[in-house]
Amino acid sequence: MLDDLGLDAAQEDYSFAFLDEQTKRMVRRAILKAVAIPGYQVPFGDREVPLPPGWGTGGIQVTASIIGRSDRLKVIDQGADDTTNAVSIRRFFKRVTGISTTESTGEATIIQSRHRIPERLLEDAQILIMQTPQPEPMRRLINSEEQARKLHAFARYGLMQVRLYEDIARFGHVAVSHDYPVRVHRRYLSSPSPIPRFDNPKLHRNRALIIFGAGRERRIHAIPPFTEVRSLDFEDYPFEVQKWEQCCALCGSDNSYLDEVLLDDKGSIQFICSDTSYCNDRRVESRRR
């Protein structure tokens, strides 16, 4: 990857973690502001990184701005550590920082992720960075940015509730399965990035700092540790997470988010944990016993 850019490890004159120091400083300022105003989308200057927009450029820039020599990085794509995007982002940071990486949730200090929040509870010293395609939860309902910002400023979120109303009227339940809108610290309506609804409760009073980076949209928002995060709902239709009748075919877990996997051409299927690190840990543990 770096060869394409005319950079290699022997060259001493590139910056630690790829971005130049001024850019990192600018991104850090945006992060500090985002932490100070939970759920508020802070604009930042998006820089070009060796990754196509939409593949996690926002996440990469946030990670690059906060990573240090003592950090251990884990990258998740669709819950797994061994998918293309996860592997290439992890390798990228290994080459531009020289830090160590890990696939285990417990060992990581920084976790960059998309689609999932790890099943294992995060700890105080960990930072979770989410790659966010669309940070504006009301974008599909109003296309004017000016209007959206006004609604945020006046905290008028009736429109979002209308979307839930329409779902209940049409399907009898709220049919939003991913990117389910949340109210952060009883103030800003925020998009949790396209995590399954299943992961929404994990945002509430999480011990780790969670930072959302949207590269193409040039926005950063954050949920500081122990912040109240509520998923929108109705009093008589309370928020619920997805449930499965199956257990994980590999580790037997009955309380994790399951992926349906097609096994052969005859259509046989299996349900397995989407979080590979969690699944591996459980299997190692049960073998030990």
Partner: protein, 259 residues
């Protein structure tokens, strides 16, 4: 109409111009609970601009708009934008000439009626639903169409739906901009009946902007005639229409086709 009633709206010395064009000049009037004020005048006489100044959409250059909110008198253009945005829905609602401007066409009829309630914090689906059904009956739309999109409704139904959406939060003041424009005569008549009933039932104060003198005569208690941004004549509707004093009003009254 009760003889002595609360003053809902007071406009003093309102001026608004766009560049060199003066759209509203020195307009003052007041409006009491249960009273309907008609504003008539030809196109470009400043009726709609005046209405937008009252509805919180255009800031006037000079003058004040005072609206009473549950007995508390508030100056619309003296508060900051956040406060205005917050108070406006409980103060007044605007019925647009084109229902498409006042409705969300990709949201069901029930969702359209419920949105103002959700914005003001209602979070119980069941009660939203029953309020929406009540209002559909109230504006004479088949309650069975609660989950249909307004774009499948006829023009008259869309307008009735907009009225339901505007009145669901029980505002004290209703502003209507040509509410019967673009509808055929029989639908117009039904809509006028409906509006007249609702105005009486909820004891609303209403400002009705129209160029149709027939509509003004049916609905309004008082009439204000505007020309080139000024109020040239004002009085009880019957007085203004039967005995117009200004030359322009006489012209206006005499240009109505007699069938």
């Amino acid at each position: 109409m009760t003889p002595i009633s609360e003053e809902i709206l007071q406009v003093e010395d309102l001026n608004k111009s766009f560049g060199r064009l003066a759209a509203c000049r020195d307009i003052s009037f007041s409006l009491h609970r249960g009273e309907v004020l008609g504003i008539v005048g030809e196109s470009g006489s400043g009726k709609s601009t005046l209405l937008k100044c009252l509805a919180g959409m255009h800031a006037p250059d000079r003058g004040s708009v005072t609206i009473s909110v549950s007995g508390d008198r508030r100056s619309l253009w003296n508060m900051d934008e956040a406060e205005r945005e917050q108070l406006l829905p409980s103060m007044l609602s605007l019925i647009h000439q084109n229902p498409r401007d006042g409705l969300r066409l990709d949201v069901s009829a029930g969702g359209n009626i419920s949105e103002p309630l959700m914005t003001s914090g209602e979070r119980h689906y069941g009660s939203l639903r029953s309020v929406a059904l009540d209002w559909l009956r109230n504006v004479e739309i088949d309650p069975g169409r609660i989950d249909d999109l307004p774009k499948t409704f006829s023009g008259g139904m869309q307008q009735r739906l907009q009225i339901a959406r505007s009145l669901v939060t029980h505002p004290q003041l209703v502003l209507m901009d040509e509410p019967t424009g673009g509808l055929d005569v029989s639908v117009q008549a039904k809509l006028l009946d409906l509006l007249r009933r609702l105005v009486r039932e909820f004891n609303l104060a209403a400002v009705l902007v129209t160029h149709d003198l027939g509509v003004a005569r049916l609905l309004s208690d008082r009439l204000m005639v505007m020309q080139a941004g000024r109020v040239i004549e004002t009085g009880l509707t019957d007085r203004v229409l039967e005995d117009p004093r200004q030359a322009y009003t006489q012209l206006l009254v005499s240009s109505v086709l007699q069938v």
